[in-house]
C-alpha cells in the first residue's frame, strides 16, 4: 500500500515568543516493510537553525531553533510511504517465560524490559493481562489471545484522559485513547518479562471498499511492538483496534513510551497563552509520482 500523509501542527501564541526550540519526530522511519518514497518537513516561520539526525532509538529526528519573535508557528510534514505487511508470525514461538532471559542478552532489546519515565511498574496492569499467560504457553499464542480480547472491556473515549494520565487510572476507568491503551499494554508486557515498545505513527481510518472503518480521528496513532525471541523478533499490535499490524499503519518511530517519540516537543520563552491545532490527512494517492 502507498500512503500520502500530511501532518500539520499549528501553534498560535497570545504574545510573541522570543525564542523557541523544537524537537520533531515527524518523519517516517525507513524499515524493511516501510519504504519512504518522499518526506519533507517545513515550518512557518522558517527556523533560524535546523538540524537533522537519528535519535538513540534510530528514529529520524529534526531540531528547529527559532530566535526571532513570532506569534504563530506551524510545522508541516508531508510524506509518501510504501507499506507492506510483515511476515506472518511463525507457528512456533518460545514459551513466554523464556523471553526475558533471551532479551537480557541483547542490549537493543533489553532496554524495553525496564520501566520508563512515563511507565513505572503497575502490578494491576500485569494482573490485567496475566490470564492470557498461563504457564508454558507459547508467546505468540498468548499475544493472539491478548490482542483479540483487549477491546472486550475497554472503551475508546477521547477526552477522559490526558497525556499524563497514569496507567492505573486508565485501568480503573476502562477507557481512554490509543496512547493510553498502548501504555497499558506495554506496562503489562514488561511486568511479564516481555520487551515492549511504544510505536508512534498513523493509521488509515477510511476503510477500503468492503472493509471495516478503523478507529481514529485522522490524527497521530500509537500502538505496541512486543519482542518474542530472537527468531520472531518484534511483533506489532494495535490494541485500539484489537489487531496485529499489517499494512494499514505508517511508522514514524518508536521508544520506551510517548515521551521518547512525541511528534513535536518545544520549549518556548514568552508567548503567553497558546492554542494548538493538529490535522492529519492520510490517503492513498491515485497516481504515485515518479
Amino acid at each position: 500500500m502507498i500512503y500520502r500523509v500530511r501532518h500539520v501542527t499549528a501553534y498560535a501564541y497570545e504574545r510573541p515568543v522570543e525564542m523557541a526550540t523544537h524537537l520533531l519526530h515527524l518523519l517516517p522511519r525507513p524499515l524493511t516493510r516501510q519504504r519512504v518514497l518522499q518526506a519533507s518537513l517545513t515550518s512557518d516561520p522558517l527556523p533560524t537553525r535546523r538540524e537533522e539526525g537519528l535519535d538513540h532509538f534510530g528514529n529520524p529526528t529534526a531540531w528547529f531553533y527559532l530566535d526571532r519573535p513570532h506569534t504563530r508557528f506551524s510545522v508541516t510534514a508531508d510524506s509518501l510511504v510504501e507499506v507492506t505487511a510483515p511476515a506472518a508470525m511463525p507457528e512456533s514461538t518460545p514459551p513466554w517465560e523464556a523471553i526475558r532471559e533471551a532479551a537480557l542478552r541483547d542490549p537493543d532489546v533489553a532496554e524495553f524490559l525496564f520501566p520508563s519515565p512515563a511507565l513505572p511498574p503497575v502490578p494491576a496492569a500485569r494482573d490485567f493481562f496475566a490470564p492470557h499467560f498461563p504457564p508454558r504457553r507459547a508467546a505468540g499464542a498468548a499475544m493472539v489471545e491478548m490482542i483479540a480480547h483487549f477491546r472486550d472491556n475497554m472503551a475508546f473515549r477521547a477526552g477522559v484522559t490526558t497525556v499524563s494520565t497514569p496507567v492505573e487510572e486508565v485501568l480503573r476507568r476502562r477507557a481512554g485513547v490509543c496512547q493510553d491503551f498502548a501504555h497499558l499494554m506495554i506496562t503489562g508486557l514488561r511486568m511479564l518479562g516481555i520487551p515492549a515498545r511504544y510505536v508512534s505513527g498513523y493509521i488509515r481510518t477510511r476503510p477500503p471498499p468492503g472493509g471495516v472503518r478503523r478507529v481514529g480521528a485522522d490524527q497521530s496513532h500509537a500502538w505496541v511492538a512486543a519482542w518474542l525471541g530472537a527468531e520472531t523478533g518484534w511483533v506489532e499490535m494495535d490494541p485500539t483496534n484489537s489487531l496485529f499490524v499489517r499494512d494499514e499503519h505508517v511508522v514514524l518511530g518508536w521508544g520506551r513510551d510517548f515521551g521518547d517519540v512525541s511528534p513535536l516537543l518545544g520549549v518556548i520563552l514568552g508567548g503567553g497563552r497558546h492554542s494548538v491545532s493538529v490535522g492529519v490527512d492520510m490517503d492513498e494517492p491515485a497516481a504515485v509520482p515518479g
Binding site: 501542527t9 501553534y11 522570543e18 525564542m19 526550540t21 523544537h22 524537537l23 533560524t48 537553525r49 538540524e51 535519535d55 538513540h56 531553533y65 530566535d67 537480557l104 542478552r105 541483547d106 542490549p107 533489553a110 532496554e111 524490559l113 525496564f114 520501566p115 519515565p117 511498574p121 477526552g159 484522559t161 490526558t162 497525556v163 499524563s164 485513547v177 490509543c178 496512547q179 493509521i203 481510518t205 481514529g216 480521528a217 485522522d218 490524527q219 497521530s220 496513532h221 500509537a222 485500539t240 510517548f258 515521551g259 521518547d260 512525541s262 511528534p263 513535536l264 516537543l265 518545544g266 520549549v267 518556548i268 520563552l269 514568552g270 508567548g271 497558546h274 494548538v276 491545532s277 493538529v278
Partner: protein, 801 residues
C-alpha cells in the same frame, strides 16, 4: 568484624614516623595548646561564613567544623592512591565511551543492562554524540580497611563536592596553626588549581582570554553546595551562572550580561545531566538550558564533565570494575572498591541473604539513593559492605581520640593524564562509616622539601584595558538591585516603627502626640507593617503596640524582609569579598535574633536601632569597597529608588492631614528623613512648610531628601546606559524636576499649609512613578525573557486516535 586500623599508631603502640613531626609541633604549642586553636578555628569558620561550604549530612545549623588535627599521608602511600585513582578514572572514561557508543560491554555480558537502561543518569540523547572525553574531573571517597589497603566507597563525577572546602580548610589551618604548617613538609595545593585554570583556558581557546568564556553552572543560591560553587568559581576565575543566565542560540552558548550575550566555550556543570536540557532530556518541567545538547553536538561548547557521565556513579558498578578493567584496559584493578554485590547474580544474592547486616542495599542504578530493603526484582539492587574505616586522631575533650575517618580525593585530567590533588578532604565518620560534619585537612608529606612548580606556561595575549563592568551577568545585577532596595526598605521600616514607638512610650500623650500617632499609623499601614484593624481608635493603641512587636517575630514583615536580605546577600556572594560578606551577614543575624526576642518596647527599640545601623553599615562598606559602575551601580540604584519611593509615600501620607495640622506632619517628615538637626541649624525653632519641604524634597545636598535620590538615580542610570538609549535616566530627571516644581509651588504660595496639603496626591503619584521606573529598569536589564515553558505535553497535542 575486623579491628579498625589506626592511622597514627601502629599495631605495637608506636607512633608511625610520618605523624611525628605534627605531634612534635602540637606539643610545643604555647598557652591553651590545641584546644585554644580549635576554638579559634570554630570562630573563624563562623565569621567568614565558610561554615556553609560543605553540605552537612545532618544539615544542622552551623554544623560544619574543622578539626585542628589533619590527616597525614605518607608520600609513597599517596603516590599509590593517586595512581590507583588515575587508573580508575581511565577505566570509567573507557566504560562511558563504550556505553554511549557501541555498548559492547552489554553485548559481551560484562555489564548487566540493569545498570544502564533503568539508570536515570543514562542520557539517551548523548548516545553516539561526538565526544572527545567524558570525564575531565573526578572525585573518589575512600576508607582504609583493617588490612591497611585503601578502598573506594564512592565515585563522584557530577557534584564532586568538597574541593573548595579543601582550600578553605588549608587557609584556616595555615592561619590558625602556622607552627605546624611550617614544621610539617607538606605538598602545596596551588599547582593543582593552576593546572586546572590552564586546562580551562586551553579548552576555551586563548584568543578569547578575559571574556566570560568559562562558566561554572550552579543549581543556585538555595543549593547546599552554593558556597562551594562561589569559592570554586572565584578560584578558577570563571563566571558563576545559573541555567537562567545561559541561552543557546544559533549553535552556540551565551551568558546574558548587561552588555549583551557573551560566548561560553567551557561549562563546568554542577547539575545532574538529566536537568540540563529540557527539550531533549525529557522531564515534565522546562527548567534547564533548552538547546544545550545541540550546542554540544555542534562542538561550540565543552561540558566538564559530559552530561551523561553520571552513569559512572551507579552504586552497583563497583561489582564489575575488576572485570571491566581487564577487558577495557588490559590491566588488573589496582585500587579495590568496598565489597559490592550485584543482587542479580544468584551467588551474590545468596551471600547477601546469609549476612544481610554486613551490607547496605541500594538501587543498583540510582546514584545518591538512600539505602533500603531490596524489594521486587533483585537484579535492580546492589549491596555494599558496611565499611570499617581506619581511625585517625581527632581533638575531643582537650585530648586526642581515635575516630573513624573517610577520605575524599580529587583528580583532574590535564591533557597529559590524570593528576591527583596532593591533599583532600577527610571527614570524621559516624558508626555507619558515613562522613559527618566534622572535617579535617589532609596533609601529604613531601619528599623533597620544596616542590617548585610555577604557574601555567600558557601564553595569553595582553588583555585590553577595561574600565566598565559590562560583563556583569543580568541575574547578578538584578539581585544587587533588589538587595539595595530591601536593605533600604528595612531601614525605612525600622525608622518608622521607632518613631511610633517613641510616641507610644510617652508617659502621657498630648493631643499633638495622638495626631502624630494617627499620621504614623497611616504610613505604617502603607508600608504593610500593620493591618487596618490595628490602627488606634479612640485612644486605644494596644493593638498597634502588639503589631509592632509582631512585625519582628517569625512570619512578621520585618522578619521576612530581613530574611529576603539574607537570601540576596547569599545570592550575590560571588561579588562580595570575605570582609564584605561578613559585614553584610553577621550584624543582620544578630539583629534578627534580637527582634525575635524583643518583648518589651525598649528591647524592640534597641533592635530597630540595630537594623538602622545595619543599613548604614551596608551602605558604608559598599561605598568604601566596591568599584564604581557595574555591581555597585545596581546596589546603589536599588537603594536610591527605594528611598525615593519611601520618602514620596511618607510625605504624601503625612500631608494628607488637614492643613491645620501641617505642623505635626512637618515634625514627622523632618524626623523620619533624619533632617531635624539640619533644619534647626538653618531655621532655628520656626517650623514652616516651605523651608521644611524644601529640605526634604528639593535640596540636592540632603542625602535623605527626594531630589538627592532622583538625582543620584539619574547619574547611575546614565552610567549604566553609557552611549545607549538614555530613556531611563531621562525619566529619573523628569521625576526630579517634578519634585522641584512641587517644592517651588509651596514656597510661592500665599498659604504654605494649604499648598502643602495640596501636593499630597502628587507625591503619592510620584511614588507610583518611581515604582514604574524600577519596573522599566527590570525589563531592560534583568528579566530579559519570560520563564521557559514546555510545549507538546498537552492533551490536544498528543495522538488522539
Amino acid at each position: 568484624m575486623s579491628v579498625a586500623l589506626d592511622e597514627m599508631v601502629d599495631g605495637r603502640g608506636r607512633i608511625r614516623p610520618h605523624w611525628s613531626g605534627l605531634l612534635g609541633a602540637f606539643s610545643s604549642l604555647p598557652d591553651g595548646g590545641l584546644a585554644e586553636r580549635a576554638r579559634l578555628l570554630d570562630r573563624a569558620f563562623e565569621e567568614e561564613g565558610s561554615a556553609g561550604l560543605l553540605p552537612s549530612p545532618a544539615r544542622g545549623a552551623g554544623a560544619r567544623r574543622l578539626d585542628p588535627v589533619p590527616l597525614v599521608l605518607e608520600a609513597a602511600e599517596f603516590a599509590v592512591l593517586a595512581e590507583g585513582l588515575a587508573q580508575r578514572a581511565r577505566l570509567l572514561e573507557a566504560m562511558l565511551a563504550d556505553l554511549y557508543g557501541p555498548q559492547q560491554l552489554l553485548r559481551d555480558g560484562l555489564l548487566p543492562p540493569e545498570l544502564v537502561f533503568p539508570n536515570p543518569a543514562f542520557l539517551r540523547p548523548c548516545r553516539n554524540m561526538p565526544t572527545e572525553r567524558h570525564l575531565h574531573a573526578y572525585a573518589a571517597e575512600l576508607i582504609r580497611r583493617p588490612d591497611g589497603r585503601w578502598a573506594v566507597t564512592g565515585d563522584s563525577v557530577v557534584a564532586m563536592e568538597g574541593l573548595a572546602q579543601v582550600f578553605v580548610n588549608r587557609t584556616h589551618m595555615a592561619r590558625t596553626l602556622p607552627e605546624c604548617v611550617r614544621t610539617v613538609p607538606m605538598r602545596p595545593l596551588r599547582p593543582f588549581m593552576d593546572a586546572w585554570r590552564e586546562v580551562l583556558q586551553r579548552a576555551a581557546g586563548a584568543e578569547l582570554a578575559g571574556a566570560a568564556t568559562v562558566a561554572l553552572l550552579t543549581p543556585g543560591v538555595g543549593h547546599p553546595a552554593w558556597a562551594e560553587h562561589v569559592t570554586l568559581a572565584r578560584e578558577l576565575s570563571c563566571a558563576l551562572a545559573e541555567v537562567g543566565d545561559l541561552s543557546a542560540r544559533g549553535g552556540a552558548l551565551f551568558l546574558k550580561t548587561l552588555r549583551g550575550l557573551q560566548p561560553v566555550r567551557v561549562l563546568l556543570s554542577r547539575l545532574p545531566g538529566a536537568q540540563l536540557d529540557p527539550l531533549e532530556l525529557g522531564g515534565r518541567t522546562a527548567a534547564g538550558i533548552s538547546g544545550l545538547l545541540d550546542v554540544i553536538r555542534a562542538g561550540s561548547v565543552t561540558l566538564h564533565n559530559h552530561p551523561g557521565a553520571g552513569l559512572a556513579e551507579a552504586p552497583g558498578l563497583p561489582a564489575f570494575l575488576p572485570a571491566l578493567c581487564s577487558s577495557l584496559l588490559g590491566e588488573a584493578l589496582d585500587l579495590p572498591s568496598a565489597e559490592t554485590l550485584w543482587l542479580g547474580d544468584p551467588a551474590a544474592l545468596a551471600r547477601f541473604r546469609a549476612e544481610p547486616e554486613a551490607f547496605r542495599a541500594f538501587p543498583a542504578a540510582r546514584a545518591g539513593a538512600a539505602p533500603g530493603e531490596p524489594e521486587g526484582d533483585p537484579r535492580l539492587w546492589a549491596a555494599v559492605a558496611r565499611p570499617t574505616p581506619s581511625l585517625a586522631p581527632s581533638l575531643a575533650g582537650g585530648g586526642l581520640e581515635p575516630r573513624p575517618v573517610t577520605l575524599r580525593l580529587f583528580l583532574l585530567h590535564d591533557d597529559a593524564g590524570w593528576r591527583c590533588l596532593p591533599g583532600g578532604l577527610a571527614r570524621v565518620a559516624d558508626k555507619e562509616g558515613q562522613p559527618t560534619e566534622l572535617c579535617k585537612d589532609v596533609w601529604v608529606i613531601s619528599e623533597e622539601r620544596a616542590e617548585i612548580r610555577g604557574p601555567g606556561a600558557l601564553r595569553v595575549p595582553p588583555l585590553a584595558i577595561r574600565r566598565t563592568a559590562g560583563d556583569l551577568p543580568s541575574r547578578v545585577a538584578d539581585n544587587l538591585f533588589w538587595l539595595g532596595r530591601y536593605v533600604e526598605r528595612l531601614d525605612d521600616s525600622a525608622r518608622l516603627m521607632r518613631a511610633t514607638l517613641a510616641r507610644l512610650s510617652r508617659a502621657s500623650m498630648l493631643p499633638r502626640d495622638l495626631a502624630e500617632v494617627a499620621a504614623l499609623s497611616r504610613c505604617l499601614l502603607d508600608a504593610r507593617l500593620i493591618q487596618p484593624e490595628e490602627v488606634p481608635t479612640s485612644g486605644d493603641d494596644s493593638a498597634l503596640r502588639r503589631a509592632l512587636v509582631r512585625a519582628g517575630q517569625e512570619g512578621g514583615r520585618l522578619h521576612r524582609l530581613s530574611g529576603e536580605v539574607a537570601r540576596l546577600v547569599e545570592a550575590t556572594r560571588d561579588r562580595l569579598t570575605g570582609d564584605m560578606h561578613a559585614a553584610f551577614t553577621l550584624p543582620l543575624r544578630d539583629t534578627r535574633a534580637a527582634l525575635l526576642e524583643a518583648a518589651s518596647p525598649a528591647a524592640l527599640g534597641a533592635a530597630l536601632g540595630g537594623l538602622v545601623r545595619y543599613a548604614s553599615g551596608v551602605a558604608g562598606v559598599a561605598a568604601e569597597n566596591m568599584v564604581r559602575g557595574g555591581a555597585h551601580s545596581f546596589l546603589d540604584l536599588g537603594r536610591r529608588l527605594e528611598r525615593g519611593a519611601s520618602v514620596a509615600a511618607l510625605l504624601g501620607h503625612l500631608l494628607q492631614e488637614p492643613a491645620a495640622r501641617v505642623e505635626s506632619a512637618l515634625v514627622l517628615a523632618l524626623e523620619l528623613c533624619d533632617s531635624v538637626i539640619t533644619y534647626r541649624t538653618r531655621y532655628l525653632h520656626v517650623l514652616q512648610p516651605a523651608p521644611a519641604l524644601d529640605l526634604v524634597m528639593a535640596d540636592p545636598a540632603n542625602p535623605r531628601g527626594l531630589a538627592f535620590q532622583l538625582g543620584a538615580a539619574e547619574a547611575l542610570l546614565a552610567g549604566v546606559e553609557g552611549a545607549g538609549d538614555p530613556t531611563l535616566s531621562a525619566s529619573a530627571r523628569r521625576l526630579r524636576q517634578d519634585v522641584e516644581a512641587m517644592a517651588a509651588e509651596v514656597a510661592g504660595a500665599l498659604d504654605g499649609a494649604v499648598a502643602a496639603h495640596g501636593i499630597s496626591p502628587r507625591l503619592l503619584a510620584l511614588e507610583a512613578s518611581i515604582g514604574a521606573l524600577s519596573d522599566a529598569i527590570g525589563r531592560r536589564y534583568f528579566t530579559l525573557l519570560a520563564g521557559p515553558r514546555l510545549l507538546g505535553v498537552d492533551t490536544a497535542e498528543r495522538g488522539a486516535a
